[in-house]
């Protein structure tokens, strides 16, 4: 059996490991246009110069040998022939397959704004983006980040921490991390980021990137009419799935390649996993992308098991889980915080821990008592139990504030 995997990040590596676990004789080839294994979640550390690219490698040095995977990096696949069951590579090579996995990920979404194209404007998705930012940041005075999602906020914080320049973030929503935080914690994060030296501009958006005679960015014009000086712009306004290879072959959904419970696409013997896909999210019961590392690993594993003749399903699957540490505050957001049902009961609990840190817990419960969504601020130790309660539609039970002796909580709202 010949397995071909396109992509060498979370989903691709998990699939390769799963195939090898089940079938010692299978031939497994991994192709990627990337030239190294790197963890996408650490790109902000590379961009700010805090971590070398080499240190973001998330698999051991001998990963390929240990698992018997033929890894070919720097090779781009340009086409798939699903009838002949072969792929065409940029170097002219044609590789046959019995089972194919598309774990091609996603790319930065660059909105159609005047001045977006050209030097000095980066996405933050690949090692080249991060190294490009790192290489240019030294001579920069003003950095503007478009979008206060997780990527934008983590980058801004990393740049400020590395004593770089002035950093501004432009966000349409009234507070940063609008997909992960609700009003209470969102407003607090907005203030905290300001206190850390980040110029956080909310409720506004970018109308144009202005360039000087040399073609480099010099300013960013906002919808409100404000003009911000900028010599480096990072666009962190979301992603689009890399579906181009599959688009001529099979079904494409609204935001990715739709996959079933077994990570199969609409084309026989072609599987997909990771950021390129959309699948049913069990907390919302809706088909959507699941853009987090753990979900990509899980999908990759399920795909790998099924590709090698097993039978595994994506159960309790969700991408609505986020963990981050911003401005020194550990945060975990669970469930559809951006799409709250008005019928859910909201409770906010706060306490100060033994080290004097403010810890906040925001819980949304459904009428039957089951937990629907949670934001944990400060103390995230029990986040896994909350995540489990949400996806399994259980009540918080023994975790309800006050019952767990660790928490001496007071309701504040």
């Amino acid at each position: 059996m010949r397995h071909l995997i396109i992509g060498n990040s979370a989903a691709g590596t998990a699939a390769a490991e799963a195939i090898r676990e089940r079938d010692p004789a299978a031939r497994v080839t991994m192709l990627s246009k990337d030239t190294a294994f790197f963890s996408r979640c650490q790109l902000h550390l590379v961009a700010s110069g805090r971590r070398s690219s080499a240190k973001t490698r998330f698999v051991p040095r001998d990963w390929a040998q240990r698992h018997g995977i033929e890894v070919r990096l720097g090779v781009e696949v340009t086409g798939i022939d699903a009838h002949q069951k072969q792929v065409l590579c940029s170097n002219g090579e044609i590789l046959p397959y019995d089972r194919l996995l598309l774990s091609t990920g996603a790319s930065s979404l660059m909105p159609p704004i005047a001045g977006m194209e050209g030097p000095g404007v980066f996405g933050l998705r690949n090692l080249e983006d991060a190294e490009g930012i790192c290489g240019q940041i030294m001579g920069c005075k003003n950095v503007v980040v478009i979008g206060a999602g997780l990527v934008g906020c983590e980058l801004a914080e990393a740049l400020i921490k590395a004593s770089h320049t002035s950093v501004s973030i432009i966000e349409m929503a009234p507070y940063p991390l609008p997909l992960q935080l609700e009003q209470h914690t969102g407003a607090r994060m907005r203030q905290l980021m300001g206190e850390h030296g980040i110029n956080m501009i909310c409720g506004d958006s970018v109308s144009a990137i202005e360039r000087n005679a040399a073609g480099n960015p010099c300013a960013v014009a906002l919808k409100s009419g404000r003009i911000l000086s900028a010599d480096l712009v990072v666009c962190a306004a979301g992603v689009r799935p890399n579906i181009d290879l599959f688009a001529p072959l099979g079904d494409i959904g609204r935001r990715g390649i739709p996959i079933d419970e077994g990570c199969r696409t609409s084309v026989t013997d072609i599987y997909a996993a990771g950021d390129v896909t959309e699948s049913c999210d069990n907390t919302l019961g809706r088909v959507m992308p699941s853009a987090i590392w753990p979900a990509a690993r899980r999908q990759g594993r399920v795909a790998g098991i099924n590709m090698s003749g097993g039978s595994e399903a994506l159960t309790d699957h969700t991408g609505l889980k986020t963990s981050a540490v911003l401005c020194g505050i550990p945060l975990v957001s669970l469930g559809p915080i951006f799409d709250l049902n008005p019928a859910w009961q909201k409770q906010i609990y706060e306490h100060t821990d033994s080290r004097g840190r403010l810890c906040t817990k925001v819980c949304y419960t459904q009428s039957d008592g089951s937990l629907a969504a949670t934001v944990l601020w400060g103390d995230v130790s029990l986040a896994g139990l909350y995540a489990e309660a949400i996806v399994k539609k259980r009540s918080v039970g023994d975790l309800s504030p006050g019952i767990v002796p660790d928490y001496r909580l007071q309701a504040v709202g």
């Binding site: 971590r51 753990p294 963990s323 540490v325 975990v332 130790s381 986040a383 896994g384 023994d398 019952i403």
Partner: protein, 166 residues
Amino acid sequence: MRQKIISCDKCTGCKNCELACIVVHSPNEDLKQAYKDGGIAAIRARCKVELTSDGSLFPEHCRHCAEPQCAQACMSGALSKNDAGHVVCDTETCVGCFMCVMSCPHGFARPSTGDQRIMIKCDGCSERVCAACVEACPTGCLTLGEADEQGDGVVYIHPPKAREAC
């Protein structure tokens, strides 16, 4: 693989397991020195005896799951299963993203309380002949044995209703 067998009905809540865990995870296994140096707050027991809402004692230990979700969530490659079957964290590689924390359904991947931003978890005392918690258990609640070759690294006997299931 030797598994930790936990007979929950033998737990008396003496917390010797927690204390032994703190001792072996103190610098040079010297709790007294750690206390003198003021570093005791940074040492966290990796196991815990919980009192559930129905009043029973639940000795909570990392399961060293057959399919560890903490390791699956790890984006730095710090978490992996070692040859002894224990899920361990390489603290040099860990960047403290805490995705493992939100992914462990038992709540046993936790942020370190020390200065370094890393996760901590039970390392199974892989380098010891016998896990410190097992060695210290006076009631026979914690023992080592071979129960199920395919399963998790920890086997529960007569567990009370788990605190997450309600």
